[in-house]
């Protein structure tokens, strides 16, 4: 599932050069799988400038007494004609310091839809995937959204976005595919503001076996 989280970064493609990304703003989601597993997922801005965008994920899963908390932070380059994924960090509640995700994990790809599939430099790139305007209800509220559908290698991702849904823009996402970890849904629970980043990249150390454990592909 962590691999699936990785590609969620695509939400920033939407208006990568048009939205004012306020540091600390973001969204809280509920993620559920077809197997009945659920997890809380928060995504928020940690850094924002003309050439760089920092985003952090907070992922919390498991029962009340076996809770796992994982943070991942990514830095996107906005300087060129296309969005780039420059560096990434990971931290769990069992790690003392954040760890640097090496290129192997940043560049790794899943069998289905990948993060690069959602990096667009202009709005016309995404318009061809538009299904239409739809009013939908999620725990955060009811709002008018734009529905898109994207597929790759058997994984189909339907997602609904709205300008009203803050910096992240995502309201709902349904992924379906051939493998177990490609079947899940995400719904917006609440918008967030003034979130303090958990990961401080200056404190990061090279990736350990524990970090690799969280990043390795899960069984399909």
């Amino acid at each position: 599932m962590n691999r699936n989280l990785f590609f969620l970064i695509f939400f920033f493609f939407k208006n990568a050069f048009a939205v004012d990304y306020v540091i600390g703003s973001g969204s809280e989601f509920k993620m559920t799988t077809n197997k009945g597993e659920s997890a809380d997922l928060s995504i928020y801005i940690t850094d924002s400038s003309f050439t760089k965008l920092g985003v952090e994920y907070f992922f919390s899963a498991g029962g009340s007494f076996l809770k796992t908390e994982v943070w991942q932070q990514f830095h996107l380059g906005l300087g060129g004609s296309r969005l780039t994924l420059d560096d990434g960090y990971i931290l769990s509640d069992d790690m003392k310091r954040p760890e640097i995700m090496n290129k192997e994990f940043i560049a790794s790809k899943s069998d289905g839809v990948n993060v690069e599939d959602f990096f667009y430099s202009k709005s016309s790139d995404i318009e061809k995937f538009k299904i239409g305007e739809e009013k939908i209800e999620v725990p955060a509220g009811t709002l008018l959204t734009t529905h898109y559908k994207k597929a790759n290698n058997g994984q189909i991702v339907d997602f609904w976005v709205s300008d009203k849904a803050g910096a992240i823009g995502l309201v709902k996402l349904i992924s379906s595919g051939r493998t177990a970890n490609q079947n899940y849904r995400i719904e917006l629970m609440s918008l967030l503001k003034n979130v303090k980043a958990k990961i401080n990249p200056t404190e990061a150390v090279p990736l350990t076996e524990k970090g690799k454990f969280f990043l390795r592909p899960r069984s399909k």
Binding site: G24, G26, Y44, S60, M95, G166, L192, K196
Partner: protein, 87 residues
């Protein structure tokens, strides 16, 4: 560690409750639920703590104080909302 986990979970849910203020929309304008984390980590508690240590009695007391403060703020916020409704 076990005690600390329970405290984290309790505080997280408390924070979630306090900062979740559902604003009903009386027209077509979309108003989504919003949480102000007030410059805290989104998990609510784990910032700056050594995750391999149990929580001390002093820390537990501090958390209890914070929880009491949050409850007060929640009541204040609710009262303000009620006052606004009356106006």
């Amino acid at each position: 560690m076990f005690f600390r986990k329970i405290l984290i979970i309790c505080l997280f849910f408390l924070l979630s409750t306090i900062f979740s203020i559902t604003l009903a929309s009386d027209n077509d304008e979309t108003i989504l639920k919003s949480k102000d984390m007030q410059n805290q980590n989104v998990s609510g508690l784990t910032s700056g703590s050594n995750n391999n240590e149990s929580i001390s009695p002093e820390q537990a007391l501090e958390i209890q104080k914070q929880m009491a403060t949050f409850k007060e703020k929640q009541l204040e916020a609710l009262k303000e909302l009620e006052d606004l409704d009356k106006e």
